[in-house]
């Protein structure tokens, strides 16, 4: 499928869905906003058959986030996310609970399933805060996750049916699969294959370490656009991304992401773990960063076939960037700032206007 075809298909899907869900939501007492940033930009490559919409409740004008789908798989995901949120609220082995947007309405209407939650307003986007504020906000949210460690028979019984549980073998199996699939998808990029193989060997050599820090609650997509800051409280969004896995999985995702947007914050978090936690914890952070970076390379390799034109060039630039980031982690260095700057220039040159607009609302 070409980019154009895929994009057109997404736009048609959105238009058809909006025509159906708008009256459905009006009937439920909600009205949609005119601007819907989560339908635009690169969403067509990233999203499944599900709409994420902004709207408000008629009775009190409360702003809400509406997730709605007529796809059976996506509907199950929504139900699952809701169950996860309910269990997290009642989990009794967490040291710290964290905030989540309140559910406003969950329901079904004919083929559609919808999950409506309150919109958490924030005065500033995450990246508009000072370095210190960003550091402490991130640390607070990461420590809140670490506070839930499922270890006993009772804990595991509570979470097993709802959450995925990752230990060392699963991370290693996944990484081996990423490496093999990338090799098939990108047969002419031997350096990528080589780097992913080295990352895999690092994980295989350190199975014990991966297990020591397993069974912690972790948000595997912990990035600024999945948190909202209201007053001094942090709200975690997208609970479907929560699982019980390595303690440093959320850290790794966040640090890999923030490396592009605020390298000083990435270095501050890295220093903090290095200086205040045990050497084995720091080593585990590196292992998880390797894993999550490899996953990024795999992710863009799998999406590459759906792209063409500027987006194809941008996808290649992303694969190249994250491969270099893996190399830096393997050698214990930081990714060269000139590499980051060059990538950002390429990205900004190639991104379409809709995507630029969408990005502005995210971080």
């Amino acid at each position: 499928m070409t980019t154009l075809g895929k994009k057109e298909q997404w736009e048609t899907y959105c238009a058809q869905q909006l025509a159906v869900v708008t009256p459905l939501l009006i009937n439920e007492g909600f009205v949609l906003e005119t601007e819907q940033p989560h339908l635009e930009g690169e969403r067509y490559v990233l999203s499944g058959p599900k709409l994420v919409l902004y709207g408000s409740r008629n009775s009190d004008n409360m702003r809400v986030v509406i997730k709605i789908t007529d796809n059976a798989h996506e509907a199950k995901e929504l139900e699952h996310e809701r169950t996860m949120q309910e269990i997290l609220r009642t989990i009794d082995f967490a040291y710290h609970t964290f905030h989540a947007p309140r559910e406003v309405l969950f329901g079904r209407h004919e083929a559609h399933t919808f999950y409506i939650t309150e919109y958490i307003s924030q005065e500033k986007m995450f990246l508009e805060h000072t370095l210190e504020e960003q550091f402490f906000l991130a640390l607070k949210a990461l420590e809140a996750q670490e506070g839930s460690h499922a270890t006993t028979h009772k804990h595991l019984a509570t979470i097993r049916k709802t959450f995925e549980v990752y230990e060392a073998p699963r991370y290693i199996q996944n990484l081996a699969r990423y490496r093999d699939e990338v090799t098939t998808l990108l047969p002419h990029t031997k350096d990528v294959h080589q780097v992913l193989t080295q990352a895999l060997h690092m994980l295989e050599k350190n199975t014990t370490l991966l297990n020591v820090y397993s069974s912690f609650l972790t948000h595997w997509d912990f990035v600024p656009h999945n948190i909202r800051i209201h007053g001094r409280d942090i709200y975690l969004l997208d609970h479907s991304a929560i699982r019980f896995g390595n303690k440093y999985e959320g850290w790794a995702r966040f640090m890999n992401f923030i490396m592009l947007y605020h390298p000083k914050l990435e270095r501050a978090l890295n220093t903090y773990v290095g200086e205040n936690r045990s050497p084995s914890e720091y080593a585990t952070l590196t292992l998880m960063r390797l894993y999550r970076l490899s996953e990024l390379v795999w992710f863009y390799a799998t999406k590459r076939a759906q792209t063409e034109g500027d987006l194809r060039v941008l996808t290649d630039a992303r694969i190249n960037l994250w491969t270099k980031a893996i190399e830096a982690q393997l050698t214990g260095t930081t990714l060269d700032t000139t590499v980051i700057a060059a990538y950002k220039k390429t990205r900004d040159d190639l991104r379409d206007e809709d995507e630029k607009k969408r990005q502005q609302t995210l971080h």
């Binding site: 670490e146 460690h149 270890t151 028979h153 501050a268 978090l269 220093t271 903090y272």
Partner: protein, 378 residues
């Protein structure tokens, strides 16, 4: 000595016993044989220390049985069995000691039944009232009884203040000669990845927002201070059932003008604010021990704290801090003003606090006294 430490928690688990046992083992291992028995599926190894994990994946009765068996096995030739917390590790320790005759020393950090209640957000009262009246709900009845059984059967019970020692003697019927005060050393010092700038006239508190923290008195004191120091700011880190009342209620509106509530923050953020402050303040009307003051001592921030049993053991008035009467905003403000206006006094208090930290609360002092207790010299 051959020391076996029984602990319910060990890294990577979080919590005070885990951190304490790990630090202690690192110190003791050079001159003693140290074995740690813990509930764990995985653990952080310590070179030179034998760590015996008892899997947490079993049901509770099986876990207790396996833990007891491990303790019997590893304490056969030990000189002492040092137990962290009375319930989860204490019961197997007492049972094991009946077989091996090894003396059991229990490190009583806080009342576990009360802690469970607090964790479940009941928190009806502070530990002192809980111990005295023993209004023990069914949910924690068994924990309280196990704890009581263990404390009565241990050879020695170590507590982090003379106040708690007295409490256990008065309320739980322990013999005075079996209960010893062993001050807790401060937690590992954190390094922040950026410097902190001092903020003039900033007062810092970190406390659970419960009635006996009496944050309202601190807020009133900050308003009084604002007459002379308009930039005064009281920064409060912590969460709790009183938060709404203090932070948002209408009748507290006027005294809130110079207060910032941080809510629950990380230890790193607490340290950041502490380092930026001119004074560390505790207005608690009840405290179990002086541990909350140690971070301020280490960071050279002068301390003003209420004259209540648990806290006043931590320092000497006018030498390493200033004592104030509880629930008195005026004397609280006066004490803080003395520090704001007198750099010489400030320096004296900081020097005195550093000395107290070294002589009373250091790891050296802690370990020396602990070994004396182990060797039955106390």
């Amino acid at each position: 000595m051959r020391i076996v430490i029984a602990t319910p928690l060990f890294p990577p688990e979080l919590g005070s016993p885990a951190e304490y046992v790990s630090s202690l083992a690192h110190i003791l291992k050079s001159e003693h044989t140290v074995t740690i028995v813990t509930y764990a599926n995985h653990f952080e190894p310590i070179e030179g220390v034998l760590i015996v994990p008892v899997s947490k994946s079993h049901t509770l009765p099986v876990r207790l049985l396996l833990y007891t068996r491990a303790l019997i096995q590893y304490t056969r030739h030990a000189d002492v069995l040092y137990v962290q917390r009375a319930a989860a590790s204490g019961l197997p320790a007492i049972l094991a000691s009946w077989f091996t005759r090894v003396p059991v020393v229990v490190n009583y950090l806080e009342d576990e039944a009360w802690e469970r209640l607090q964790h479940a957000s009941f928190e009806p009262e502070h530990q002192g009232t809980f111990r005295k009246h023993r209004n023990i709900p069914g949910a924690v009845w068994s924990i309280w009884n196990v704890q009581h059984f263990v404390l009565r059967h241990a050879k020695r019970v170590l507590v982090p203040s003379t106040f708690i020692a007295q409490e256990l003697v008065n309320n739980y019927g322990l013999h005075t000669e079996n209960v010893h005060t062993l001050f807790t050393p401060p937690k590992k010092q954190l390094n922040l990845p950026f410097p902190t700038k001092p903020v003039p006239y900033r007062i810092f508190m970190n406390t659970r927002l419960v009635p006996w923290s009496d944050v309202a008195t601190a807020m009133r004191a900050s308003v009084l201070l604002a007459h002379t120091y308009p930039d005064v700011e009281l920064v409060v880190a912590g969460d709790g059932p009183e938060r709404y009342e203090l932070e948002q209620s209408e009748h507290m509106r006027e005294v809130r003008t110079h207060t910032t509530f941080l809510g629950r923050v990380s230890k790193a953020e607490e340290l950041y604010y502490l380092r930026s402050a001119e004074v560390y303040l505790s207005t608690s009307t009840y405290a179990e021990n002086p541990n909350i003051l140690l971070e301020a001592f280490r960071e050279c921030i002068p301390v003003v704290a209420t004259n209540v049993p648990g806290l006043r053991e931590g320092f000497e008035h006018e030498k390493s801090g200033l004592l104030i009467p509880p629930a008195n905003a005026e004397t609280c403000a006066q004490a803080i003003e003395r520090i704001f206006s007198d750099t010489h006094l400030k320096q004296e208090l900081v020097t005195g606090a550093q000395e107290t930290l070294h002589t009373t609360f250091s790891w050296e002092a802690h370990t020396m006294r602990l070994l004396e207790i182990f060797q039955n010299r106390i």
